[in-house]
Amino acid sequence: MPEAARSTTLKRAWTASDPLLSVRGLKKWFPISSGITQRTVAHVHAVDGVDLDIKTGETLGLVGESGCGKSTLGRTVIRLLDVTEGSITYKGEDITRIHGQQMRRLRREMTIIFQDPYASLDPRQTVGDIVGEPLDIHHLARGRDRTDRIAELLRIVGLNPRFADRYPHEFSGGQRQRIGIARALAVEPSFIVCDEPISALDVSIQAQIINLLEKLQSQLNLTYLFIAHDLSVVKHISNRIAVMYLGKIMEVAASSDLYRRPRHPYTGSLVSAIPIPDPAIEKKRERIILQGDVASPVDPPSGCRFRTRCPRAREHCAEEIPPLESYGADHKAACFYPLD
């Protein structure tokens, strides 16, 4: 029996109604070395046991504070970083440890847009070469076709095709981010990790990039993992949101649900901490001010990682890690004493 046929008899083939990407028990640890022998003395538990599904065509928002592991998770799921433990399945195929030819194929399926549009563009390459590089690597277009495709990509992201001969320093922050997006689109990916794509931009420019990402998604049937620390932006662009704290997912829910009815105390405090640009509303809001700082990911607290700052924590929270439990359709939270 041919290989492909055998696998379908064993397992139902992947269809678009299945999750595009599934992550189970995912861990990514970074070693800390010390001394002259550079012996590994500890690990940074950046991602520490994450289960997550991303549906085809959706935008899953990933929020959390600096150091919570959200960028590491984003990079690990597209295999820019090696997996320490756990599995990643993409379109029904296990991609946790693939390499070589399979990896090259994967690189055309999934890609990433970075936060700092200046640091992620080579200053000595023209815009045309930056956008054209993925075309060369994957042998997608040559000569006249390549030039045409670059022009088309620049047009898609709202840049003048004549800009192909210019260098990154000639552009504003928003335009550079557009160049980064054009480069990401060159391989015609299905899945894009957007890692804080607007955080470095001026307020008046952020909306332009958010609107562009939304337009591209519906035009090109893209699936996004949208990573940001700003919950208002994430809520605007995402269908569902996952909240991360010290390497773990604390809550995942539909965007409006997460805002209206947060179950995890961390989500609750996060929602209450975001200022709303309306003085009348701000006057009436009550803030839950968390005490202290995030604990260290090198030596995370036992049990629930949030318990050291949690206003609802009890003894049990230190003894056992709370699992993600369902609260109605599409709403999960990892807390023993959830909010109503």
């Binding site: 504070e65 909306a207 975001i274 009348a280």
Partner: protein, 329 residues
């Protein structure tokens, strides 16, 4: 009755660069009343930070104050000697910055740095200054202040460093505190802690505060009055509630509609502002915002509008609203 503490009149600060003169602050006037919290909002390059540095006379070269006055009560800070100005800094006006790590000296203990403004102003006070510094660190919410005052800045987290900065600013009990993007480098839950602290400081010590930020949400929650800056000028000012409910300048109006709100019910596309902030060396003719403005009329590209009263409580520099048009209508 309100008392004007600080008065800024037609302040102009410029940077002579190889490419030309950058008019970072170009004719800015405002007052700060005793005990109030005044917000200054704007994007990078709007001149909000340079305004603050000009008040403190800390504009880095090649920047120079080329015109206008800054009066603290009845003293003109632009004409007093550098020695006198040093006394004003710290004693009457304190400033806290966005990035506490670059503003704290890494080789001195935190407690000493918090006490330094007191010691500088009176060397005999060294002993009591250290005690006061420790007490102040406790007040701003540093746990175990006696012990932690012996730490170096790198032993503090980002939020604690910002608290230490605030303590440093407060030791001399200044009348004016200028906070330049004090929470931009911090996470939201830490931002909430620091804003809460600034609010407490304002209520407890009656310190008048100028809060500089790009975050309209922060202004909405913290400030009674707000100034909106664009390309080195004030384009709108007034009570925060009125400015947010009824913006009188198209820039303010568009900015409020371009940011996603956490409490938005339905998903609607954001109304993005087209174009980019202008080059300060070659400002557009007339109103600097006119190339990006959806309300513009012919006159906007010809004549520079000045800040005039529009509506009952607000001021705006806009030909359209000065001509009687209601942006919300």
């Amino acid at each position: 009755m309100t008392e004007t503490l600080l008065e800024v009149r037609d302040l102009k600060t410029q940077f002579a660069t190889r490419d030309g003169v950058v008019k970072a602050v170009d004719g800015v006037s405002f007052e700060l009343e005793a005990g109030e919290t005044l917000g200054i909002v704007g994007e990078s390059g709007s001149g909000k930070s340079v305004t603050a540095l000009s008040i403190m006379r800390l504009v880095p070269p090649p920047g120079r104050i080329v015109g206008g006055h800054v009066k603290l009560k009845d003293r003109d800070l632009t004409t007093i000697s550098e020695g006198e100005m040093q006394e004003v800094r710290g004693e009457s006006i304190a400033m806290i910055f966005q990035d506490p790590m670059t503003s704290l000296n890494p080789v001195f203990r935190v407690g000493w740095q918090v006490a330094e403004p007191l010691i500088v102003h009176d060397e005999k006070k060294r002993q009591s200054a250290m005690g006061q510094a420790t007490a102040m660190l406790g007040k701003v919410g540093i746990p175990h202040p006696g012990q932690r005052s012996k730490d170096y800045p790198h032993q503090f987290s980002g939020g604690m460093r910002q608290r230490a900065m605030i303590a440093m600013g407060l030791t001399t009990m200044p009348e004016v505190l200028i906070a330049d993007e004090p929470t931009t480098a911090l996470d939201v839950t830490i931002q909430a802690q620091i804003l809460d602290l600034l609010d407490q400081v304002n209520r407890e010590f009656g310190t008048a505060t100028i809060l500089i930020t790009h975050n309209l949400g922060v202004v909405a929650g913290m400030c009674e009055r707000v100034i909106v800056m664009y390309a080195g000028r004030i384009v709108e000012s007034g009570p925060t509630a009125d400015v947010f409910a009824h913006p009188r300048h198209p820039y303010t109006w568009s900015l409020l509609r371009s940011i996603p709100r956490l409490d938005a019910d339905r998903h609607e596309p954001l109304q993005a502002i087209s174009g980019i902030p202008p080059d300060l060396i070659e400002l557009p003719s007339g109103c600097a915002f006119h190339p990006r403005c959806t309300f513009r009329v012919d006159r906007c590209s010809r004549d520079v509008p000045h800040l005039e009263r529009v509506g009952e409580t607000q001021m705006a520099a806009c030909w359209v609203t000065q001509g009687g048009r209601d942006l919300n209508a």
